[in-house]
């Protein structure tokens, strides 16, 4: 039954994949046409040279052929070439992916590990001072611009700590320049600030969500049953109730899986973190359309994949869906 559900769910993503690639492709062509930056500024290029460049980039062929070529490439992991230097977008992506994953997985893990106990505490102590403090933190956290929070943390822990002669944290990068990255502690120290900023946003949302989900579950009859069975309060909360309360949270976290790639863009820029987001930003500043398009498509496909994984995870966790 699970297999059948999975097959159905996987098949349903195919039109979305086609649609998403079509949208990114069309956005590109409708707006930018076959414009190649820099070409018209170069007086040395003759019209036939420009034609040759267009041919090389496949821009002379009919639109649908271009799309199909584009789609065919994607299937083989080819997200096109840079308009500026002709380099493979996929190579850039895979160069930068590890740094991004290092940052975002840490942030998501931190977010989950901290938000669940915070949400549970809020639910159990509903209406208490702690609950109000957590709520205020969450509402506030949701309104803080991530890039500003990053700047403020750099200001405090890098700039001011240094000024005060205290041990200070690096303001950017994955590792101390010149090292090979073999020093784990050095990497962790670099990771600390950006991961904190990124996880703060998740924390605000997920702790609230866990709280309301937990409140709902705690009022369910089966929680009363568990109490009537003489289960300890800890077992009731952390086994019987939490197991149910995290199911919707899994979907929410699953929806953030695509953020593994895109979620850290602003934070990556602030902390000079050489990840995918920073790559996209750098290329955007250089008006390298094709690279931006390639990365965007790659990220969009990850979103589709993330949604799929979230659904599957949901089905695995919730027997009502698994055996429906």
């Amino acid at each position: 039954m699970l297999a059948k559900y999975l097959v159905r769910r996987v098949l349903a993503t195919i039109p979305v994949v086609i649609g998403v690639t079509l949208i990114t492709f069309l956005v590109m062509h409708v707006t930018a046409g076959s414009y190649i930056p820099g070409v018209d500024l170069n007086p040395a290029l003759k019209p036939e040279d420009i034609e040759a460049i267009k041919r090389y980039l496949g821009l002379d062929r009919p639109l649908y052929i271009q799309y199909l070529t584009w789609l065919g490439g994607i299937v083989h992991g080819d997200f096109g070439r840079s308009m500026i230097d002709g380099s493979l977008v996929s190579r850039h992506i895979f160069d930068r992916l590890p740094a991004t994953l290092e940052l975002t997985t840490t942030a998501i893990l931190l977010g989950v590990l901290i938000s669940i106990p915070l949400g549970v505490t809020g639910a159990l102590r509903r209406g208490s001072k702690i609950d109000y403090a957590l709520t205020a933190m969450s509402v506030g956290g949701f309104a803080i611009p991530a890039f500003w929070l990053g700047l403020m943390l750099i200001l405090l822990f890098s700039v001011q700590f240094q000024a005060w002669g205290l041990p200070f944290l690096p303001s950017g990068g994955v590792m101390t320049p010149g090292t090979q990255g073999g020093d784990l502690l050095d990497r962790l120290v670099h990771l600390l600030l950006p991961a904190t900023v990124l996880s703060f946003v998740y924390l605000s949302i997920w702790s609230r969500f866990t709280r309301s989900s937990m409140l709902e579950v705690l009022s369910q009859d089966y929680v009363r049953t568990a109490r009537a069975k003489g289960m300890s309060e800890r077992r009731v909360v952390y086994l019987h109730a939490l197991r149910n309360a995290v199911i919707p949270l899994v979907t929410l976290v699953g929806l953030e899986l695509p953020a593994l790639v895109s979620g850290g863009l602003v934070v990556e820029v602030v902390f000079s973190w050489p990840g995918i987001g920073k790559l996209l930003y750098e290329r955007a500043i250089q008006t390298d359309y094709t690279t931006v398009l390639g990365i965007t498509t790659f990220a969009a496909l990850l979103v589709v994949l993330g949604n799929l994984l979230a659904d599957i995870l949901y089905a695995v966790l919730d027997p009502r869906i698994r055996y429906a």
């Binding site: 309104a143 790639v261 955007a284």
Partner: protein, 305 residues
């Protein structure tokens, strides 16, 4: 940046009554809202920012006696509370407070325009999809799925790159993604309203589709739009500030709260207040919009408390 949808599950509000919300429904909601002190305070802060945005040239003329473009290279990085500059000056000697006042124009203007466009488009698509169902619904909603599948921040950057935006195009760019989640929300609401007795009865009386949608469905989803509009405003302000910060939105010399932070690492070391002020205004306006949205939601549906 996370998806621009704040806590989607918590937004879904339902009117307390079964039929079309009558006058008393809106009155009761208003009564509840009035008693929510935090919500009213948030609303007032929001009104304050709107007024500042509208009157910023006057305020500048009256209080700071300078224009946001006035460069004074002899007086760069003046400290806060120094002569004539309450909040100090920036790297070009421009008055920080004046620039903050004009920055409100950008944030509020783009914010409200974007919310208006996204709500209008989103509500229309949601109403049509929910009302007609079937193929129309399927196509529209799949399209929404696709739009929302592309990471919003990447799409914003892509479009900002292609359009070289001014304030209006920037608002449209942001709205071009935001309408999707509103359409989803409205459609869901319509589906629950559509089957209620009064809709069936009105249909049986031979009302036209347009009348059914406009006169009967819309009032039933209006409260959802109002709540979501307020929450979405906060998101737009955040997104817009981030794009400005990245140099892909409103660019200098026009001051915006986002682009005032763009090269802040260059003056971190000696003028940290320049990093603090714009962040606080962004934070306060977003916080006000979110809190007001929450208060509206609680007022419309007290059961969710």
């Amino acid at each position: 940046m996370i998806s621009p949808i704040p806590l989607e599950g918590e937004v879904a509000v339902e009117p307390v009554e079964r039929g079309r919300p009558g006058k008393s429904y809106w009155q009761e909601s208003w009564e509840r809202l009035r008693l929510n002190r935090l919500g009213i305070a948030a609303g007032l802060v929001l009104v304050f920012f709107i007024l500042v945005a509208i009157t910023s040239p006057i305020l500048a003329a009256l209080f700071t006696h300078t224009d946001y473009r006035t460069i004074d290279l002899a007086n760069t990085f003046a400290r806060p509370l120094s002569a004539g500059h309450i909040l100090g000056t920036d790297d070009l000697g421009r008055d920080e407070l004046t620039r903050l006042l004009f920055g409100a124009q950008v944030s509020m203007g783009i914010g409200f325009l974007s919310v208006f466009v996204a709500l209008t488009v989103g509500a229309t698509v949601g109403l049509v999809a929910g009302f007609y169902g079937g193929l129309i619904d399927g196509l529209l909603m799949r399209f929404v799925d696709m739009i929302l599948a592309i990471p919003a921040i990447f799409l914003f950057i892509l479009m900002a790159l292609l359009f070289k935006p001014n304030a209006i195009t920037l608002a449209l760019i942001i709205a071009s993604v935001g309408w999707g989640s509103i359409a989803r929300l409205v459609r869901g609401e319509v589906l629950s309203v559509r089957t209620r007795d009064f809709m069936v009865a009105t249909k049986a009386l031979g009302a036209s589709d347009l009348r059914l949608i406009g006169r009967h469905l819309l009032p039933n989803v209006l409260h959802v739009l109002i709540v979501y509009g307020s929450l979405y405003l906060g998101q737009v302000i955040l997104i817009e500030a981030a794009l400005d910060f990245l140099g892909l939105g409103i660019t200098p010399p026009t001051p915006s709260w986002g682009n005032m932070l763009t090269n802040s690492e260059t003056f971190f070391f000696h003028s940290s207040w320049l990093v603090v002020w714009p962040g606080i205004t962004i934070f306060l306006s977003v916080l006000a919009a979110n809190l007001f949205g929450n208060a509206l939601r609680d007022a419309f549906d007290p059961r969710l408390r």
